[in-house]
Symmetry: C2
């Protein structure tokens, strides 16, 4: 007698989680980085009354803006509305998010003494609002919730620079000049990230995405020596939870193999590397997430459709592809375009059975329509 | 009877020009992008009395700041001190360079009508100060002068956005939405760049570097379709001048092969791609320029020396390598470090004879010292 079927849409059965595990499923899953946020009029309506930090710190509001894109786009996953610096901000490190600037740190961390100020995160005490948000969402959602955290390097870049940077000069200077302090800093940030993600999973997050957003500023050698061991520690410390682990950074084409080595099940790919090329840079068993150029969503519909078809074709119908943008939704995006992208991915994306994947010619398979816009 | 030897240091005989042509020479040539500028106290002294634009627009000052790093570092080439937007600014397009911001355009170009406002550059009329600067420098220098211009895409990114951008949203939206206007814009910008570079060479610039600084924001497909034809036209229009042509952009690892196809003799490589990997992405006959991570110059001396050795080792002793940073000198750099880098490159870099290059094991050759910092 078969076991009772899981209710439709329940997380364990979802195309998103099946794709994360490389298991057969019946449609290409799709979600968008920054699907919640400024592209949505209903988000802007919330922000007219509340600051970004108020939204993040108020579970009902954070849950509401997380749900907004799920209602509108019907994607295959939701992602916790939060910020990379939320845990360290919640620990009292003097981080504020300045409109039009980004995270600003009162006293940037640059010395051994500064690093010694960093204690361990106690999620229940320091950021109960995040955990409450997760609980509210898990009760509400019929798609999996992705937990969210910044990777040690990207967190360090904010805390060392003191504000968003283009060149990461101070961060790199510390990394290259004082290895002991550097590794101590990244080790503590890894512990904070582990605590945050474990707590999110304990409340029901069904997968996690570790954002090493700015790791692409590093050479492969520097990444491997100074960053990879700490990101690996984060992923290893989540292994027993048995939730899929996604790893993403912008402009990390040269680092994809190393980022997979850190222990990710899925590696996010920005639009600079064609998905079939990206596939060759990661080991068998690690799937790609991505990688529609976000600016394509500002183009006319035939171009959007052709580019979606190109991403699907380059994904080759393999069951471990998760459709996404190559980076976050641009604020200028018309939500109707994203809604259409979800429809097109669901209608035209084909997931081949494992036996067929091995034989498939990626130029022939699996999306309908022209491959170029 | 042999022809009379060229005087020592004369351009035709210089290691830099020989390297550009892939000819044998006796030392690895080195110069630094942004070698003139804020890292030098003598430059800051000039800027205390004059704005950036005054310096660029006054031949004696522009020549002086171009010469400052040549006197101090003894590099193998000088590069004209100028800005990517100088020609379009000189044409009266309402471009100002705002301190701490960068180029700002009064009326950004976004429509067909805007593009039709772009006339052809007349270098002798529009920017006689640039040509005078070149003439002053050529009379003074004992190393080759590299002429300088922005590539069509990077120029377009400034003119369409109206100010420096991180996402190039409006530029990409135009590129993806209105191909006719886009190509008309890039065609006109290519003509401006050609006129500027031809005029610089006519006054004695011995090589040119075309900066497509922001092309790395594009996917290979978009670059190939929307940008490459225009950069190719620039390089083709310079072919009869028989000066070496260098092409560089930041974060262009995925585009190196296409940028070489545009017609460059040398392709600049930023620090994200190891030089031996970069070599595999460009055709035989195109040499690499680069690629020390600029932030390494903020590290202790042993690290600097180890990283210089690593770049030299990965260059494999081939005669077509030009040592440089992977991007511009960071303002925080101690000039003494750059002076030392030039010495180390000249003392430890080895240029193998062509026959030896074919047999060489890149792991064994040619720099002294450890390959990793």
């Amino acid at each position: 007698m078969p076991e009772p079927a899981a209710p439709p849409g329940a997380p364990g059965d979802s195309p998103f989680l099946r794709a994360c595990r490389g298991e057969p499923h019946d449609r290409v899953p799709v979600w968008f980085m920054r699907q919640a946020g400024r592209a949505l009029p209903e988000y802007r309506a919330v922000r007219e009354r509340h600051s970004f930090e108020q939204v993040v710190h108020t579970p009902e509001l954070a849950a509401e803006v997380t749900l907004q894109p799920v209602r509108r786009y019907r994607p295959d996953a939701a992602i916790l509305f939060s910020d990379i610096v939320t845990p360290v901000q919640a620990m009292g490190l003097g981080v504020t998010i300045q409109p039009g600037v980004g995270p600003v740190v009162d006293r940037p961390l640059r010395t051994r003494e500064d690093v010694d100020r960093l204690r361990q995160l106690e999620p229940d005490v320091d950021m109960p609002f995040v955990l409450k948000t997760v609980s509210l969402l898990v009760a509400e959602l019929d798609v999996p919730l992705i937990g969210f955290a910044g990777a040690p390097f990207t967190l360090a870049s904010y805390l060392v620079e003191g504000r968003p940077s283009k060149s990461y000069t101070r961060t790199k200077a510390l990394m290259l000049s004082d290895e002991l302090t550097w590794h101590r800093l990244l080790d503590r940030l890894a512990s904070i990230t582990i605590a945050s993600l474990r707590a999110q999973v304990a409340r029901g997050a069904a997968a996690v995405q570790l954002f090493d957003s700015w790791a692409g500023a590093l050479s492969p050698d520097d990444y491997e020596r100074a960053v990879l061991p700490h990101s690996r520690r984060v992923f290893e410390a989540l292994a027993d939870l048995e939730v899929p682990r996604i790893h993403f950074g912008v402009a990390t084409g040269e680092l994809l193999g190393l980022m997979a080595q850190a222990g990710a099940d899925i590696v996010g790919v920005d639009w600079r590397v064609p998905l079939d090329v990206a596939r060759q840079r990661v080991p068998e068993g690690v799937g790609p997430q991505g990688n529609l150029e976000p600016a394509v969503c500002l183009a006319p519909q035939p171009t959007v459709e052709a580019r979606v078809a190109d991403v699907l074709a380059r994904a080759g119908g393999r069951p471990d592809h998760i459709f996404n943008l190559g980076h976050g939704v641009l604020p200028e995006t018309d939500p109707g375009v994203l809604e259409h992208v979800v429809e097109v991915v669901h209608e035209t994306g084909r997931v081949l059975p494992p036996a067929a994947v091995a034989d498939a010619d990626p130029d022939q398979v699996p999306a309908e329509g022209a491959a170029r816009g």
